[in-house]
Each structure stands twice: as structure tokens, then as C-alpha cells.
């Protein structure tokens, strides 16, 4: 199981939990699993999310491998100016 930190305003979709656990070996599996277990997250995930893995931010990258002890943080899709 991988622990995923969820940002504040999405916690209404995770029963108020700041961290959820899902079974996943990479980002794609993680996002798919999040949508299955917490359907309220789907609109945001469809709009776009980034994922931070051990401090490094990924904007897409489905097949990035995740270890069980990795720090995974769900983040809004990042843009710049």
C-alpha cells in the first residue's frame, strides 16, 4: 500500500482524511485506484494533477515507479509564467 497525501480542499472527497492508502506500483495505478476508491476525486484528477514523489514533482508520467515507503503527495497541475 502507498500512502498519498491529499491537499486540504480535496478532503471532502476522502472522508476528511489528509492521507489515504491505495494499492499501486506506479502513478497510473495510483490515480486509477484513487478514482475507484474516492470517486469525488475524479473531477480534479481529470482537470489535472501533479504528483510529488519523494519531493520531486511530476506533472504527468503514468509509469513512474512508486515504492511502498515513497512519499507521495497529490498536487494541483503545475503551470508557470
Amino acid at each position: 500500500m502507498v500512502k498519498v497525501a491529499i491537499w486540504g480542499s480535496l478532503r471532502s472527497a476522502t472522508d476528511g482524511k489528509a492521507e489515504v492508502e491505495v494499492e499501486a506500483g506506479n502513478f497510473k495505478q495510483l490515480l486509477d485506484q484513487l478514482v475507484i476508491e474516492y470517486p469525488g476525486l475524479e473531477p480534479q484528477i481529470k482537470r489535472g494533477v501533479s504528483l510529488a514523489l519523494d519531493g520531486k514533482i511530476y506533472r504527468d508520467a503514468w509509469f513512474t515507479k512508486i515504492n511502498e515507503d515513497s512519499e507521495v503527495v497529490l498536487m494541483p497541475y503545475m503551470l508557470g509564467g
Binding site: G8, S9, R11, A52, K56, R59, T64, E71, L79, G81
Partner: protein, 747 residues
Amino acid sequence: MALDENGKRIFKQVGTRPARPDGIDKVTGRAMYGADATAPGMLFGHILRSPHAHARIKSIDTSAAEALSGVKAVITSKDFGTPEDESVRDVQDNCMAGDKVLYDGHAVAAVAANSLAIAKKAVKLIKVDYEILPHVTDVDAAMQAGAPLVQEGRGLDDLPAGMSENVTYHFEFGHGDMDAGFAKADKIIERSFKTAATHQGYIEPHACLASMGIDGKGELWCCTQGHYYVRELCAGIMGMETSQLRVTASEIGGGFGGKTTVFIEPVALGLSRKAGRPVKLVMPREDVFRASGPTASSSTDVKIGMTKDGRITAAHATFRYQGGAYPSGTVQFGAQSAFAAYDLDAVQTIGWSAMTNRPKEAAYRAPGAPMAIYAVESVVDELCQELDLDPLDVRLKNSAHKGTKSSYGPTFDDIGLEATLEAAKAHPHYAAPLGPNQGRGLSCGFWFNFGGNTSVSMNLNFDGTVGITEGNPDIGGSRASISLMAAEELGIPYEKVRTIVADTNSLGHNDVTDGSRVTFAVGLATIKAAREAIKIMCARVAKIWDIDADAVYWEDGFAKPSGPNAGSFDPMSIEEIAAISAETGGPISGHHEVNADGAGVSFGVHLVDVEVDPETGATTILRYTVFQDAGKAVHPDYVEGQMQGGAVQGIGWALNEEYIYGDDGRLQNPSLLDYRIPVASDLPDIDTVILEIPNPGHPYGVRGVGETGIVPPLAAVSNAVSRSIGLRMSALPMSPPRVLKALTAKG
């Protein structure tokens, strides 16, 4: 892609300061910008814009304009379809209003004619019947239930009671126990702040030349930060397949985020399609202010608790940004970055975004971050004053570092904040004496930096020179830094490499030049492409020498046998390999396509001394020093240039720049005269100190440097002014009337 040699690599060319490849063109007037292209049979376009902040369009009568001699096409929103994608629909509506005009300056109709004079005359003949609607331009007013609704049905699904449907985004970040944190504080300060909307202020107005053939194929030449994205948006709006539209990026006369979307390009394409002729469209400066850019204005509440020895115990902030007439979520970056400089046990940030009757917000250099960090750094400075603590010591004491759980979630890897703060502390500027009516301010700044989709192709020519083809418009010298990295990797002179920016048909997709991504991501792809080419060159040489490919290695522009066991061969130069490449298997090239990750975050610290005239409230910037972590500075001149330019944009934001709206919802100052960006005589030298803490996610350790520089000046200048006048300022810009008013009230 990991850092080479653990950051200990010794560079031969990266870090030097050669002349930029586009230098001669730009100092002789030869460089071609957006408005400089012409085409046979070209027409001139002009756009009619709404004088109202909010109105329903009851009817548009274009007959008189169409009847004017020399007019070849008149278009309105009826000449476009309805794209499926909501965000593309918003862009289209912003380029040409549908049922309603949503802000002063919103495009309503457009004309193409034989001359600009005729097009302008025709635009005056278009009659629009408006039903004027109530409007709202202030973010706090727009968020209140009962406010005029900019667009219906766009509000948050779970809208809190008392909030208007104008509220479109809500974000929350943070961790820890806030109550426990504040309970530990010796001093808590709560304060509210406001910042005005500001414009990116690029000197080149938006301009394009569009040519649609009756076969449905289109050509578009325009000044943009991302021509691939322009192609996507325009094809979506025009109902074309992307392959049918080729977009070429001209030289770009500044962008700063403001040229990451489209404003006139679909209109030019629509006019060209209807007229069957090429159409040039250039935005007058007034329209640039009224209908492109700007950044969000903001309203913020900050609460921070500190112990008397300077440890922050808890930090909370609520940000309210108005993003103009369409949903826009940059408040997320504000809420994420606000406390990024601090190592905190208890932190919470909340962001709200609301629509108003103003032009849609466009990205502006570190979008969302400057105004958030301004509010936070102001309160930290006030706490330091109240507790009589040194503001640099307090920041060092609370500084984020490797292993800090950031305020926005992830744990930081190697970051350069502490080193940057130490450099500021050790700098003579920090110890220099101050005179009467003078004050010193400082602030930290932060930006994430991104990677993104990148394609680079590298071709070895038969004479051993190298062509790099990349797809990101060069805003500040990126062709020079890309050439430097290619030269470094190949071990050939910089002059042997020519880097060009390709059109959308000549290379795979490239994301927009944004997020300070180009030197990082395009550089990374260039290094990878060079390594691929080197592999091929080594393999060719191995065949010639009839040894294993593994037994050949590359050094300083030569293929060499890897050791005595490999055999004794004279090294072969890149020129020799190139000259016989036809005989050894054909042309040699390397390419790399990647969605780059691993961009390193960037921190900066700015120090500023100001003097305030107590009788007029005028602020003079006396001295300014920028400290910033660049990872590895590929071309230090251009790194310094980014730091200096960002600082001055931030100074403008702090002191004079603002969008001023009248009660009628009209923009009062859409000109460079009254918008007041800094001029040369407003400023001292901007000193720079580059720190180089390698980014673990790039082979050379490169971090983005473009955006961080605009973040600290707002608070740094505000803190300096506040200390100078003995009064805490809490609104930007600190224009002289505002400062004098505060001084007068204080007595």
C-alpha cells in the same frame, strides 16, 4: 535524469559568457518580431472592443462596415463554432465575445481591409446594441453572495454559504496542529493585505500574421511563448485538425507569462478564412492593457505566531484572488508557495478564486506567488520588528532545508535557501549604514520550476558542425544556453553549434516556454540528444577500428579507444567522423523526446534600501541586491539578467503599477504613460549574487531561474518603506498618494 558526477563535474564551457547567437540580428534591427512579417496580398485587421464592463449583446449590425470600400471581411462570434473542450471555449469567448461582453475591452467584432486605416474606419461603422448589466471588479465584492454574476453556472459545486457563484476555485494546503502552534507563540500578528492587478508589460504588443487557404490549410506567424499550444488552441477554435495548421514563432518581444495563451490569433485566422487572404493583426497598446494579461489582484489575511527568540510556531493565511472574467486558478500557487521558505510544524493556507468583470488573468512570472509571499514576508518582518530580532537571523532560524516537509506537501531535496540567506547576511549591503528617512527591507522568494514536454533534435553536418532544433521560443537567451550545453556535451566549440526554434511541423511537441522550464528541460533533452549522437559516433568509429563499440569513448570532441586493451588508434575528431558519415552508415543525429520531471525548486533573497520623502510619500530605491540559487548558471550573464529584470518588475509592482478601474468598470489607465512601469532613471544598479546549489534532477545541476526574481521585491520594498516611515504598509502599490495618506494619518 540524475546529476552528473554528484555535482562535481568540471565544466569547460557551461558557466562562460559567449555572445548570444541572435545578438547581431537584434542590435541591427534584422530580427523579425510578430509585427514584422508580411505576405503577398496581405490585409490588415482591426478589432472592435466593448466599452462596457458587463453587457448583453442584443444585436450586431455589420452591414455598413461590410459596405465600405476596401473591406474584405467582417467577423463576429457567429463565425466560429462551439469547441467541445470547456477551456478552449473560454479562450474562444475571450478572443471574441459570445452572448455577453464580460469586461471593458472584450472583443466583439473584427474587420480585415486593404489598409489599417480602412479597417479602423470600418470598425467604427459596426453598430452593437448592448443591454448594460451590473458589474463587479473587486475580488472581495465579487465573492459576496448577491454580487453581480459574471458567468452563471461556473461556481464551485460545494459553494459555502454567503459566497457568490463567482467563486470558482478553492484550495487548502498545510499540516500540523494550528491551535497548539499558536498557543506556543509569544507574539501573534494578524494582518490583511491587498495588491493591485499588474500587467506583464512586454514592450512588443501581441501581433500575428494568419493565412488560411481555401484548402483548409493554415499558416500562422506570431509572437508567443508556445507555438504548439497556440496551434492546439487555434485548431480547436477553428475546428481544424492540428496537422492542418502550422505555427511559426517569431522573435518574441517579451512575454513574462502573458504570451502563453492567445488573444488575437484565432481572430486573424477567422478573418483570413473569410477573406481568403493573409491577415496581419497587431494589438494597439491600449488593447494590450484592456484585453490581455494581467495578473490577479489579491486580498489576503495572514496570521503568524512566533516565540520571542524567533521561532515560528504556527502560520495561517487566506488568499482571495480575482482572475478576471473566466475561471482561473493561480491562487493555488499562491497558497502553495506562501510559506515555502519556512520549516513549520503547523501551517495552513486557504485559497479562493473569483471571477470579476476584468480581462482574464494570464500567467505572470511565478503566477500567484509574489502577492502571497508579499503578505507572509510582511508579517514575518513585522514580527521581527516587534520582537526586536534580526530579520535575516529569524529567516535562517526557520529556514526550509533538505528534509523539510514543505508547506505544500512534499519533502524538500537539496535546496539552496540557507546558503542564499547566509550569502545575504555576509554581504556588505546588509551591514551598510542608513541615513534619515531610509529603511532596509528584505524578503525571501520561491518558485517551483517545471519540466514538461520537450522535443530536441541534433544534427551532425558533414563538416562536423552541429544544428540543434528545439521548439521553445527564446525569451531571454535560451538559444545561447542550449548551444552551450550541446557544445559542452560534445566537446566542441560553442561557435560550431547553431540552435534554432522550429515551427510546429518540424519537431515533436514542446510545452510552452513557462515555469522557468526551458534551460532545465530543453537543456536536459539537448544533453540526452547529444549523448545519443555520441553513442552513434562511437559505434561508427568502433566499426572503423573493428573493435567493440564499448571500447570507444568520447572526450573533448574526439572518439578515443578506451584503454590499451582496446587497441592503439589515433583519436578521431567529430569533423573526421562527420566527413565520412555517408560511408559509415549515413547522416548522424541524436534526438530526445521527454516529459521532463525533476525540476529543482528555486529560492531567492532580496535586500533593498529605500528613502521615503516624508512630504510627498515618494520612494526612491537607493540600493538593491539579489541573491538567488541558480543550480548551475549555464550562461551567468543571462542568469543575472533574469534576476535583475525580475527584481525591477517586482519594484514596479510594489511602487506604482496598477490596474485602476472607475466606478463604471472601465480601465482608467490603459497606456504606458499612466500604467507607469519603471524607467531607467527610477533605478540604481541591481547587484546580483548567484548561488549554485546543484539540482539533483538535472545532469548539470540546472534549476530554472526566470521566475523567482519577481517574488521577493514586493515584500522587500514594502518592508523597507515600512521601516523607513515607521508604519506598516499593507497595500500595493505603495504609490506616493497612498504613502502620504498613511503618513498624514499617523501625524
